[in-house]
């Protein structure tokens, strides 16, 4: 387990930078982490991050398909919001573990 300072606070992350403890997450951290991916977070991004966090805390396994049926975005918009690996990047920014889904 490694420690990383994001937006002025120290959080526990794994070797790939995913949060070990989703409770340590704040919106400011998401904004700062998004800069690494050249993403400026909008309300829609945050609605999705909230959705992912809720589903994760509810014990559900996340998939691109679930996000596509979330009512927030369709699959195409999801790819546009988080280019280059939407589920992985959004999970990282949402402060939840790396998704373990093949679809």
């Amino acid at each position: 387990m490694a420690e990383k300072t994001i937006a002025g606070a120290t959080v526990n992350v794994n070797a790939e930078g995913y949060f070990e403890n989703p409770a340590q997450w704040t919106k400011d951290m998401a904004i700062e982490m998004a800069k690494d991916y050249n993403i400026t977070l909008t309300d829609k991004h945050f609605a999705l991050l909230d959705f992912l966090r809720q589903k994760h805390l509810g014990g559900e396994q996340l998939s691109i398909r679930k996000v596509g049926t979330s009512g927030i975005v369709d699959v195409k918009e999801f790819y546009q919001l988080f280019p280059g690996g939407p589920l992985k990047i959004s999970s990282k920014l949402a402060g939840i573990p790396k998704p373990m889904s093949c679809v």
Partner: protein, 168 residues
């Protein structure tokens, strides 16, 4: 190994699907969708019986073989007798059961999978030789198909460092 992976990361996969049974088509779809999910470029090329997966009339009627499939089991794990697989309707029943199991695992249907792959920037192609052979035209194929191409055009697409060709 790790340093090699970092030095030469996978950037593009070109997947050829030459078979039309559910499991073969899904293998190609899962790999293509998995690639776009990872931010990789993905090209899917359908040929021979694989064309069923992108043919409007057949896309929702893909089956799994109940005859000549030694890995086929009854629910519960007993071997599936080949003679049983020959009875009309059995193949359709087994195929329907497979599809319902996949639905339970949140695995998309074939048309939905194509939608997801295309949404992620993946591209679908059909083989010219096989479409000629099966007398299929562009309009017989699903709208997600970008073009009917030759093997030469396929190889042109497969250029670039970090590209892999996968044959299903």
């Amino acid at each position: 190994m790790t340093t090699q992976n970092e030095q030469y990361p996978l950037k593009k996969v070109c997947i050829i699907c030459a078979k039309g049974s559910i499991e073969d088509v899904y293998a190609a779809l899962v790999m293509a969708n998995g690639a776009v999910m990872e931010g990789l470029e993905a090209k899917l090329f359908f040929t021979f019986f694989g064309l069923d997966a992108i043919t409007k009339k057949q896309i929702n009627k893909l089956h799994t073989a109940t005859v000549g499939n030694p890995a086929m089991r009854m629910p519960g794990g007993l071997p599936f007798p080949t003679l049983l697989g020959m009875i009309p309707g059995v193949e359709a029943g087994v195929s329907a059961m497979m599809k319902s199991q996949m639905e339970k695992l949140d695995i998309p249907t074939v048309p939905e999978f194509f939608e997801m792959i295309v949404a992620g920037g993946g591209e679908i192609f059909a083989c010219k030789l096989a479409t000629d052979m099966f007398k299929l035209k562009k309009e017989d194929l699903i709208d997600d198909v970008v073009d009917i191409i030759t093997v030469g055009q396929f190889y042109e697409m497969a250029g670039g460092q970090g590209t892999q060709i996968i044959f299903v």
